[in-house]
């Protein structure tokens, strides 16, 4: 770990703080612009991209089949029944939306905390958010049984003369998720505008110029515009932060306001939020590692990013572990309640106890390896860890939904839960959809914000008169 003899001439280390650089030395405004915009503007699309798109397209097709069959036959093709009326649909919904949260968090909280290392990963993390919300939003919609009447969820004057019921957390969900989707898209688009301007100015083809030109809204980089733009970005970041917190909190209310042991507990809001961030950061690593390899972006997605994300994951993972610990302590024993005790016993040692231990292994035990600096800085290991954590987080939701429901108060109404192939097909299908959208994104939009990367360069520092100027661009 820490040694007194640090190599001081390593170009990837900052000479003053000894920390890893956020961006490799030697880059200029021009080279950064060049590097990122080339990926989008090139006319030679890498063959690997087509391969990946095709593969992901297979997943999308599967999703289409699964959803079509669902619309034809109804939700009976899923395993949901009494007492487990909330099966895969809600598990996947919570899982996906949790993944989305890291994107907002990276762009928002880290912006507020002036963590400049975020600048190179925030764009694709935000894109990840939007695609995850797309996947997440689908589940409640197809779960309602008659999705074409989904608009009934909104309060609007209608000929039936009925209105929604505002004391239900499921309705809160409608507002939370729709707000989240809207703000995420707006935040993302606002962030893209200057880069779209760059693409407009650099593209050679007429179609690209036209498309990026319209999307850039005539952005010309006036410093007056920049000041308002920065204010708006900070405000959106300031709003997105409590929004993220509220979204997963509202989702935790879906469970916690019910009087069911295993659901009704006050730690749910913070620990759901922490869990969401946990899985989201894992997903960012899952995406960042192959991207930086494939597009040779090691200069801008450096080991510092991987390590910092490891630290965030360790922190949020520990908060999640704290949540589990409090649940076990309070339910199993301190509540002095038989129902609480039985739920916890059944969750750990009942017929589905294996799922609890999978969750403990993936979410608590193995991630403790991230305490070690060497582990956090090992890219392949972190890549594997990201899969482990997302598996664990999926099982967390499985445990919460299924093991609380299948054996509640009356033994006569106990049941069990076994997912059908359509459950699996739908879930796998959304993985395909997510990947498919992501492939489109990396091809047609700059996945790393050029304008924000420029700020990180040493040339961006303003020098006083008389001081020697650094070498201008190449």
């Amino acid at each position: 770990m820490a040694t007194k003899n640090q190599p001081l001439n390593d170009p990837m280390l900052d000479p003053i703080t000894g920390e890893d650089r956020v961006i490799a030395p030697g880059h200029t405004f021009k080279s950064v612009t060049e590097k990122i915009s080339r990926i989008v503007l090139t006319s030679h699309t890498p063959i690997g991209w087509f391969g990946g798109l095709l593969l992901a397209g297979g997943g999308v097709s599967m999703l289409l089949v699964a959803v079509s069959w669902l619309f034809l036959k109804g939700v009976g093709i899923w395993a949901i029944t009494q007492p487990v009326a909330w099966g895969f649909a809600i598990i996947n919904f919570v899982w996906w939306i949790g993944i989305g949260h890291a994107g907002t968090l990276i762009s928002a909280i880290l912006l507020l905390f002036k963590q400049s290392w975020r600048n190179s990963i925030n764009r694709f993390a935000e894109a990840m958010t939007i695609f995850a919300v797309v996947c997440a939003g689908m589940f409640p919609l197809i779960h309602v049984g008659r999705p074409w009447l989904g608009y009934w969820l909104f309060p609007y004057p209608n000929s039936m003369n009925v209105w929604p019921q505002f004391r239900s957390p499921l309705l809160w969900d409608v507002f939370a998720v729709s707000t989240y989707a809207t703000i995420s898209v707006v935040f993302w688009y606002i962030g893209l505008i200057p880069d779209l301007g760059t693409l407009r100015d650099r593209s050679q083809s007429k179609i690209a110029q036209f498309a990026y030109g319209w999307l850039a809204l005539g952005w010309r980089g006036s410093v007056r515009h920049w000041v308002r733009y920065e204010t708006a970005s900070l405000l959106l970041a300031g709003l997105a932060t409590p929004l993220v917190l509220s979204v997963h909190t509202v989702i935790s209310f879906d469970f916690a306001v019910a009087l069911l042991p295993g659901w009704h507990t006050t730690i749910f809001p913070p620990y759901f939020v922490a869990g969401a961030v946990y899985s989201g950061f894992a997903m960012v690593i899952t995406l960042a590692v192959p991207i930086r390899k494939f597009y040779h972006l090691e200069d801008v997605i450096t080991i510092r990013h991987i390590e910092n994300m490891g630290k965030v994951m360790l922190t949020t993972g520990l908060i999640v572990a704290y949540g589990y610990a409090m649940e076990v302590f309070m339910s199993y024993w301190y509540s002095a309640s038989h129902w609480e005790y039985f739920m916890m016993w059944n969750r750990m040692f009942g017929p589905m106890g294996w799922s609890y231990w999978v969750l403990v292994t993936c979410n608590i035990a193995l991630p403790q390896l991230m305490w070690f600096r060497a582990f956090r800085r090992n890219v392949p290991l972190m890549f594997i860890m990201s899969f482990i954590i997302n598996t664990g987080m999926w099982f967390e939701r499985f445990v919460i939904v299924v093991t609380s429901l299948y054996r509640d108060y009356l033994p006569s109404s106990w049941g069990t839960y076994r997912a059908t192939r359509w459950d699996y097909a739908t879930f796998a299908g959304t993985l395909g959809l997510f990947t498919f959208l992501f492939f489109l994104f990396v091809r047609f939009l700059p996945m790393i914000p050029m304008s924000e990367l420029r700020i990180l360069l040493p040339q961006a520092k303003i020098h006083a008169e008389g001081e020697p100027l650094p070498e201008a661009g190449d």
Binding site: L8, G18, T249, I267, P269, M330, R373
Partner: protein
């Protein structure tokens, strides 16, 4: 224009010790402490309630002082982990807070001795023999069940063991954090990286350990006043609440010290603004946890949980609860929302004072309704006045100790790469 002439870097003053007026603060704190404690004791005699209210008020004063001391330790470790320039500014004041641990332990002793061993404060200590107490209608069936069931935890021996253990472990942390900090400053510049890692390694585990022990402390010292009730988020609420109070205090300290060197040089508006933002964040986090817990229990409306809130809302307590919301969130939040306010020292001071007052008010709302005579029945008695005098006395004495600790070390940690950054001139916009 300003920023042109301001491009020249400042230098750190030669004398980094606390200015002389800190002695004045200390004398003032001592006088307030003495006056208020004497009145508190007199009221204790007048109240004629077997010193019950005196002890409850003492618990309040202890919890607040403890929050400053150990919350300061938690924030100190957090800033080692998170980095950031603001961390450099607050490091020495936070260290001074942690060094008040002996006094806080002294404050704890009456809670343990009178509250638990002499059975004056905690219901579970009072009626260990639940069967007889139930028969004599001293407690109800729920209380009897809870006290009986939770006996392995809620008994004087375990209480003392756990409390001594956590105090001892915090003492160890306080010792290491303070000692290493001086060693680091005495060391040479190239070893900064080594020290950073060392502090990170200590703090990483330290924060985790503190969260667990604080949860235990919060359950033991406050939540178990009502042995029937439980809430899984309780410990986390204390953690956030402590950070809320400590941030307010540290800003007050810095602003107070900023009229003289060395803080005058290093306390820039940018960092003041950042600290203000942190306050805003914790104000939000605090109401978030409190409201979410309330909404969950309100929606559930189960007879096992809701009485805790009813005890604190009905019979006049609603006024206290509403004002708690006003002091704890509404006022600080609306004020801190303004960008300008966070940058003007005079105004930020007011907000910080409100925040510290809100912590005390909230603690009153948490503690007093646990007792049979006060639950769902807010009424005036001489005893209730002790909530003004005893905690003020305790906190004032604590402050005096804090100010003396502030004097013992240079106010700026020098062996840190952020020193150079913090001496740089500021941007026109931040």
């Amino acid at each position: 224009m300003e920023q042109h002439s301001g491009y020249h870097e400042k230098t750190l003053p030669a004398d980094l010790s606390a200015p002389a007026f800190v002695n004045g603060w200390r004398s003032r704190a001592l006088i307030i402490g003495a006056v208020f404690s004497i009145i508190g004791v007199i009221l204790g005699f007048l109240a004629n309630d077997g010193w019950a209210h005196f002890l409850r008020a003492w618990l309040l004063g202890f919890m607040i002082s403890f929050g400053f001391c150990c919350g300061g330790m938690a924030l100190l470790m957090t800033q080692y982990l998170s980095g950031g320039k603001w961390g450099l500014l607050v490091r020495r004041p936070l260290e001074a807070m942690t060094r008040t641990l002996p006094l806080v332990f002294l404050y704890f002793l009456p809670v343990g001795i009178f509250g638990v061993s002499l059975k004056k404060l905690y219901l579970w200590a009072q009626y260990p023999d639940t069967e007889n107490a139930l028969k004599n209608h001293l407690i109800n069936a729920t209380q009897a069940h809870s006290i009986h069931f939770k006996k392995p935890l809620l008994n004087p021996v375990t209480f003392w063991e756990v409390s001594i253990f956590i105090f001892a472990s915090w003492a160890l942390y306080t010792f290491l954090l303070n000692r290493w900090s001086l060693q680091r400053d005495a060391d040479s510049q190239p070893n900064v990286f080594y020290w950073q890692k060392r502090f990170e390694n200590l703090s990483g585990f330290g924060v985790v350990f503190y969260s667990i022990t604080l949860t235990a402390a919060a359950i033991y010292w406050v939540m178990s006043l009502d042995p029937t009730w439980y809430s899984t988020v309780y410990g986390l609420q204390f953690l956030v609440g402590q950070a809320y109070g400590v941030l307010a205090l540290v800003i007050l300290t810095l602003i107070g010290l900023s009229s003289a060197q060395p803080i005058k040089t290093i306390f820039r508006v940018t960092e003041q603004h950042d600290l203000g933002k942190l306050c805003l964040a914790f104000t939000m986090l605090n109401i978030y946890l409190a409201f979410a817990a309330f909404l969950i229990i309100w929606s559930g409306n189960s007879p096992e949980e809701i009485p805790w809130y009813l005890d604190r809302i009905r019979g006049g307590w609603g006024v206290i609860a509403t004002l708690d919301f006003v002091f704890h969130w509404l006022l600080p939040f609306t004020l801190l929302l303004s960008r300008d306010l966070k940058r003007i020292k005079r105004k930020l001071v007011v907000v910080c004072c409100i925040m510290i007052f809100a912590r005390c008010w909230d603690m009153f709302w948490l503690i007093e309704p646990n007792f049979k005579d006060a639950a769902r029945n807010l009424h005036f008695s001489i005893g209730i006045l002790e909530y003004i005098f005893v905690p003020t006395g305790l906190i004032a004495f604590w402050m005096a100790n804090y100010f003396s600790q502030l004097k013992t070390r240079p106010l700026v940690a020098t062996n840190d790469p952020h020193v150079a950054e913090i001496l740089e001139p500021e941007h026109a916009h931040a």
